[in-house]
Point group: D2
């Protein structure tokens, strides 16, 4: 951590900064720059120091973090790539993984049929939402635990492990306005092979903590989606939250970010290059979700391959045999034959890389 | 809702769209544009229609919402401004309100002293955080329910009602790694006069629902902060979530948004003009938080006045007698004398408007 | 300037960095941090050093500028506020300035009438566009030098000095497809009292240089608008370009920035707080343009006052007696009576500050 | 174009809108929505209608463009892909093109050596900057016409056509403070095989017009870089400017956009998915520049392939035999062997697609 004092800051202010540094059992080195500008470098473990501690001293102009605020998920500190295991499958190893399925689980025949078709297309995981966080209170909110049961049926029929989202530790309201007995988290812990944290909850730190503790005990991996305006550092710190609270099996998932770009052409800006950034900065596996990132099914194949080219360890693709009749997100959903085509090309591309 | 077909879309596709429209008990009007472009307007109540239902038909190029997706909080539908009552005080009426206090509650003498000083400076509400959602798992997370008890002491000493944040319906972990008995929401419901939802939780819809139901029963208003990348429409829809689930007393709070601007100069981009937009679009009161928006205490006075000039009904300002020693956010915290100066000028400005 | 080496960078790499530093006649101070991380501070005048010079060494992780890259326009280096003089008027001194007029000059009676009406409303400058940079090649491009002549007529009728935009050093194409004899810059230099550089040209550095040299010779001030995605540092560097090339009389003008916010509610995000940032960082005067920033005339009064509250030295407001029939930007244009009301309130507000 | 009236807008206001529509020789169709909301659709050629014409009527809530504002470059209107010819080479056809070379031309031996090495690596075009638009007035500004002459030498030595940037129609200042005789545009027209318009000048419409006219006469293609905050529609309108002014040979080039992402990890956000969007929306060829987009040489190979996977017709890659000693942008510059590797993989990838 580097502290840049204001021009001509009095020696007293510099001493004040140094005193604070010492409280953290760190050392201080001063560089007297020209033009009366002093720079103070902190020597030691700064991971527990809040930069604000110095920033709030009036004569401090700027506090700059030099080391990364995340440690456990950092490749600099832990160079070895983490391979997250789900049964026989490894995510983040040499093999690409493909997670596919509908945005929303609608009924048992639907999810069983989709499971069979995505398996035939080459997917190794079945994804599907039983709890749907929706921007509008008037939109469809998901089937709840009944949906999870249908997913289990699909798993039994195909052997595909289940990826599904937990939206918090609240109780889900059903279409008849009654509430489920258990919390969403409790239900999902019971059924999921991989628990997804959606972009909207990436900064719900209380929930992340509960989730990390409970999923860690049961050794269920967490697929953490990047918040739509989370910086790379914040994203990795959210992963660090989960790891620090007891679950080392975190899969990072990119799904587009919010920028000035018009959503007439794309739903989000696809953060494809961040795939490469994350592989360099972090030791965790990275999966890309081209369905949410683009929002349009005709863009999904190209962006799927782009993400693989950028170094992704896998893809999560919304798939339905009748996208036009899907309960949600149909316009970004591909059919199983398109999925098969994407997987075929992705595997060929992987060989080139 | 308006549907724009692709050029030369076949009549069959148009019929398909119209069929779907009819399922929602709405009518359809077609405009045959030049160059083979058909436009279909939906006549009727479209609030329950998900635009995706049409977007996923291949021949549909774009679906455009013409009416606003929020109704209850919309000034167009409910022109009367809502005045949120807290005891004798009204937020959103003719009087400005000022909420002040520390970022974190540290101990009883601290919060009692601050309460007295902000009251003397002219504030009518005491704000303070017992539960602190922090970006890093290694940062200070707040005193928990003990902090809430100190706040009650401060309330008893001054009569100031309490504004404090609920971070979710999880259980809080204390410094000794034990967990509180009740959930954060349960505790906050017991102590708060106004419950704050932070920017990080604005899209945690499951939590919003629980909060709305419980706070609605007890008639405790909710101060809802805008998410750092939430659009105006999403922000108003989050408010609509709370109102639709049983609590009409929502106060909107702006606290800066995330943009390309360098955080070397400001922590966030101050969304001051959105104050005026919200007053026009919505019937709810609007409070501005210049502390988080700017991140630097020397910018707080100017931005406070700018927000009032833009039409804010009040301000929420982080205040501490010793900002440099505050447990968190000290660099954006003002002293009680500065607060008094801001309030004085804000009241003078209000007279001009 | 601070250089952060990668973990365990070899001593040879550090030496390489130091050698380069010495080439710039600067000194180097090394901090050996824990965990094998070395930090090198550069001591001396770094204003001429391109950070890339170090960044391109593989073992360098990050290069951080500690001093600001702008000097002449920086308050840290030149604390005295610059008051830009136009005849008797001073911009950046104690008095607020108001620049008003139509987006486009349409004909002589129009601009003369508007000049008279904005003067009566309290404006001290007449603004109007003869050259209009338009996003679409099919939109109205402005009257050209004929418009400038009409502006001079309006100036003669009212005494108001003229603010008008130069769009580059190209020759303007007229409605009959012929080209003007002189370049736009040559024409504007002949007629303007203050030359405006629009947001779209803020980074057209070749043009900035020509403009600075020519306007500097004639002592005509430049009103520089912030680019829609220019950082504060880039904006001040563009001002530095003009000052360094011979024209110290630069007025900074804010007009909104491009962010994720929906342009359904506002044309741009109003960067009101940057007014306060610029007054702190720079010694130059700051004017705010609420017309472009908001894009809607009913937001203009509130945002005008917000900008003054944030510390602006003046306002530039699009004004027309018949906004609905203006040749361009009518929806963001106010009438002279509204202008008068804004000016009255702004002056009252200034007294409070 | 669709006009959405405010709720309960009086019939008179609707008539006013219709009158205006008729002035443009278009027809109007009215949809009377429920809740007193009228929608007016314009039937006919709306490409010459400025939406503001309606927006400025008070009872109009919103004006929505339904057809795209660009025509000539639009795939909807002109489905046939344009292949831009440079000698024997075609850009936008079946073959990928690779443009490589240094950021800045430094001297004759440098550019000749690089030309030979990039040719050997598989590049078909030599890129290099003689005029460098730099953010700081204190940075290196380029060799000027002398650099262009060195490029011609390199072209003679290798046969590679030249891609180089014109920065405007100003005269370039040399290191000795003298000015070149001809303008930058005149010089570049004389030497370039493809003229690059940089991101900073994408909205300098006066310059675009001059450039289009002059390059169109000489049949020199233009490579137009997307502005760092230009929307897709604005980017295509800038291309439309060039085409409408006489030069149909426009190559679109993406080079990253400015968003909230930290430039500690990437210089810009790589807009890779926009490659696919542009190929769908427009008939023009698309080239991707991974050097500027990422800013770090170790990210360049992955992002190069990602862009090809997303559908790019080619790449523009900064290449130097000694990146660490390059006059500018060394940290994002790759070596010829890396370039060869990228080209090899890109060609293999193209076969899969």
């Amino acid at each position: 951590m580097i502290i840049r004092m204001k021009q001509n800051a009095p020696a007293k202010a510099v001493e004040k900064v140094i005193e604070r540094i010492k409280k953290f059992n760190c050392g201080a080195e001063i560089i007297h720059g020209r033009e009366g500008i002093d720079i103070i470098g902190i020597v030691g473990d700064t991971s527990g120091i809040d930069p604000n501690v110095f920033d709030e001293i009036d004569e401090v102009l700027e506090v700059i973090r030099i080391s990364r605020p995340y440690k456990r998920v950092s490749r600099e500190y832990n160079p070895q790539s983490r391979v997250v295991k789900v049964g026989e499958l490894g995510i983040g190893g040499n093999e690409l993984v493909f997670m596919a399925g509908p945005c929303s689980i609608e009924n048992k025949p639907q999810i069983v049929r989709i499971a069979k078709e995505v398996k035939a297309a080459g997917a190794q995981f079945l994804r599907g939402g039983a709890y749907k966080p929706r921007t509008s209170p008037y939109s469809y909110q998901g089937l709840g635990v009944e949906g999870l049961r249908f997913m289990r049926d699909a798993k039994e029929a195909t052997g595909l492990p289940i990826v599904t989202e937990a939206t918090g530790n609240h109780r889900h309201q059903l279409a008849d306005n009654s509430f489920e007995q258990k919390t969403v988290l409790e239900n999902v812990l019971e059924y999921a092979d991989v628990i997804q944290v959606g972009a909207r909850n990436m900064k719900a730190y209380g929930f992340l903590q509960d989730l990390a503790i409970e999923s860690g005990k049961r050794r269920i991996p967490v697929l953490l989606k990047r918040g739509e305006a989370a910086t790379v550092a914040e994203f990795l710190l959210a992963a660090e939250y989960i790891v620090a609270n007891g679950n080392p099996d975190v899969i990072l998932c990119l799904r587009g970010i919010r920028t000035f770009e018009e959503n007439k052409y794309q739903r989000y800006t696809s953060d494809i290059a961040v795939t490469a950034v994350l592989k360099k900065e972090s030791n965790l596996p990275v999966v890309f979700d081209p369905s949410h990132a683009t929002g349009y099914r005709d863009l999904v194949p190209a962006i799927s391959l782009a993400a693989i080219a950028a170094g992704a360890d896998g893809l999560m693709i919304e798939t339905h045999y009748e996208p036009e009749n899907a309960a949600s997100d149909g316009q970004q959903t591909v059919t199983p034959p398109t999925l098969a085509e994407i997987i075929k090309k992705a595997l060929a591309l992987k060989k080139i890389l």
